[in-house]
Amino acid sequence: MVRAYTPKVLTANRLIEGDVVYYGHNGEWVLSHDDALFLEDEVQANDLLASANKQAALLVGAYLADAALENGKPIPTHFREDFRTRGPSNYAHGKQAEV
């Protein structure tokens, strides 16, 4: 059975810094999940992923992560992706404390 497509954001880690980044509205890579491009079209999502996989000098480990839309902004639908937007939950450090 083919699974129905669910909306996504495109995410990866920066090659040098390792930071979590998202594919933004203007083709740039952004730190905030809020600014990620919400991908409702499967073909577009797969094309962007294929192109991200070619940006080896900039990125590592690109993939499509499930997301939903809330107040016009994409939000993660899985807790793993939710943690990736902020950093560790044991105490505030990493992205949540620095960005």
Binding site: N13, E17, G18, V20, R80, F83, S89, N90, G94
Partner: protein, 555 residues
């Protein structure tokens, strides 16, 4: 401790140069990530959830003050001012930049440290009893054996691409503090009836998705036969071990599928061939290594100050009760420094704390430190007269928590706060349990209890051998925690039994609390530990406490 010779130094220096060039080629695009990944993993560099992670080897958990200070320096210069001590006696940095890692490896090499074989399908960092060389119950210091194994297994071409990772652990004592029965190969130094020193060899232990207690392969192996025998084990594993399925590739599955008798027969046959290839140089080497681990020059002084502090300072008394262990020299003690302050991340030490521990080791501890697999730091050789001063210094930096072996001395893997493999968080569960029982002021009453938490089925948090084990899973997109009971990681190693359905993130701490109150109600007396009560009564009374709705339904 063992000091690197020219050969060791040159080897790790060469590796730093090699890796620097590999990073340059990755950054300039000459290497793809697929090409680079196995190279970075060979040097302990992972890509985790939020950043890279560098895992640094601390062979058999032994450090001196210079090494500890360098770990602090690295944490400040290239990371976020802290390091995480792991359940394999290593240290991990959670935030390195790829471009800084060659400099970090150079800084490690400057103090004879490295990150080699901390990842990949090779023989990993050899672990040992963290009380090695100090404990009163020891037949022999296991570290010379561990060091011999380190030298033999480092960059060994035949064992560089095994079917899966391979872990050795060594203890020199009947009381197993190194969890040897949950390792691919566990070695126990012992003396036979003739008074000769040799090894009991355990094989095929491991946790993870298929937990197994290791089986005895040899009840007594002559000392000089150690390397040819281990080589025979590795060769049999390399030939028979499955490569078709990564989840069936560890030697525990090889032993399970073929049977210990068949494995023994093959190993013994192979051993005869391998033994002929060893000309005795390994034993010359071993004698040199052993010399490097000679006992320190103990000081002679009275212990009156210690005795007075015990009588007059209740807080010190409490620290002494939990954090000191018997040393083979009666005027000395082993001091365990808890890296488990209530509410803090188990195993995380700041650079300032590392420097204080280095200072204390240098000033009072014959310049020795150990990292335990329980994620604490040990000063193995401390004259009792110095313990009050050490305690006072530890208090200033939040390192004097008197909880070793108690409910808040929890092992927790990094879990989903850091790890890319995790299916749920583990650290916040440990933080909340520790904080809760501190609020209840119950932990000393509860007594000896080991809680171990893993954030995925790979079991880095050793949950299967926790008296109470907690396994965090992803159940339909929600964190869910399963409890196992009755696990034991010592010489009486046992895999814990599942208590039943899992609990949500908000339910798990109250569930642990119910479990503990049930134990306090049903134990014979305050001397009966949680594990003893469990062994006497089994799962049932604990199940009723965990799932009160079951009892109501039955009524």
């Amino acid at each position: 401790m063992y000091n690197y010779n020219e050969f060791d130094k040159e080897f790790i220096q060469n590796r730093v140069h090699q890796f620097r060039s590999q990073v340059e080629r990755r950054v300039d695009g000459s290497l793809t990530e697929d090409e680079f990944k196995p190279l970075r993993l060979m040097n302990g560099l992972y890509l985790q959830l939020h950043a890279y992670m560098l895992r640094v080897a601390i062979p058999y958990g032994t450090l001196n003050s210079a090494k500890m200070r360098q770990l602090a320096f690295i944490a400040d210069k290239w990371d976020k001012g802290y390091g995480h001590f792991t359940t394999r006696q290593n240290i991990q940095y959670n935030w390195p930049k790829l471009s800084d890692v060659p400099d970090m490896l150079q800084a490690l090499a400057d103090v004879d440290m490295h990150a080699i074989q901390t990842s990949g399908n090779c023989i990993r960092n050899v672990t040992a009893d963290h009380f090695a060389g100090a404990s009163a119950d020891e037949v022999e210091d296991p570290r010379p054996t561990a060091e011999l194994l380190r030298q033999w297994s480092t960059d060994h071409p035949e064992f560089a691409f095994l079917g899966r990772k391979f872990k050795f652990a060594v203890t020199g004592s009947e009381n197993d503090r190194a969890v040897i029965k949950a390792h691919d190969v566990g070695l126990r130094v012992l003396r036979n009836d003739a008074g000769e020193i040799g090894y009991e060899v355990i094989v095929g232990g491991g946790l993870g998705r298929t937990p197994m207690i290791g089986k005895v392969l040899r009840t007594f192996l002559q000392r000089e036969d150690l390397l040819p025998y281990c080589e025979a084990i590795m060769q049999v594993y390399n030939a028979l071990g499955r490569r078709d399925n990564k989840y069936k590739a560890r030697i525990k599955i090889t032993v399970h599928e073929n049977g210990i008798d068949k494995i023994r027969e093959l190993v013994e046959d192979r051993f005869i061939i391998q033994r002929a290839a060893f000309g005795g140089y390994d034993q010359v080497l071993f004698a040199d290594i052993k010399e490097a681990f000679a006992s320190p020059d103990y000081i002679n002084a009275d212990t009156d100050g210690f005795d007075v502090s015990l009588k007059t300072d209740p807080a010190f008394r409490s620290f002494a009760d939990t954090n000191l262990s018997s040393h083979k020299n009666p005027d000395y003690a082993i001091v365990s420094i808890s890296i488990k302050k209530h509410g803090a991340t188990p195993g995380d030490a700041t650079s300032d704390q590392m420097r204080v521990m280095a200072e204390l080791a240098e000033k009072y501890g014959h310049d020795e430190l150990r990292i335990s697999h329980e994620q604490n730091v040990i000063l193995p050789h401390v004259h009792k007269s110095h313990i009050p001063a050490i305690y006072a210094e530890l208090r200033k930096v939040g390192l004097a928590t008197a909880n070793i072996g108690l409910i808040s001395d929890i092992i927790a893997c990094p879990g989903m706060d850091y790890c890319a493999l995790a299916t749920a968080r583990s650290i916040p569960i440990a933080q909340q349990i520790a904080t809760r029982f501190e609020e209840l002021k119950l932990e000393h009453d509860i007594g000896q209890l080991k809680i171990k938490i893993s954030g995925c089925i790979n079991a880095c948090g050793h949950h299967h051998v926790g008296h109470i084990g907690i396994l965090g899973l992803d159940r339909a997109g929600v964190e869910s925690y399963q409890i196992t009971l009755g696990g034991d990681g010592t010489q009486t190693a046992t895999i814990g039994k599942s208590a039943g359905r899992g609990f949500s993130y908000t339910e798990i701490v109250p569930a642990i609390e119910r479990l503990i109150y049930a134990y306090l109600d049903i134990r014979n007396d305050a001397n009966e530990t949680f594990l003893e009560t469990y062994r006497r009564l089994g799962l049932e009374p604990f199940k009723i406490a965990l799932y009160p709705e079951t009892r109501i339904a039955a009524e």
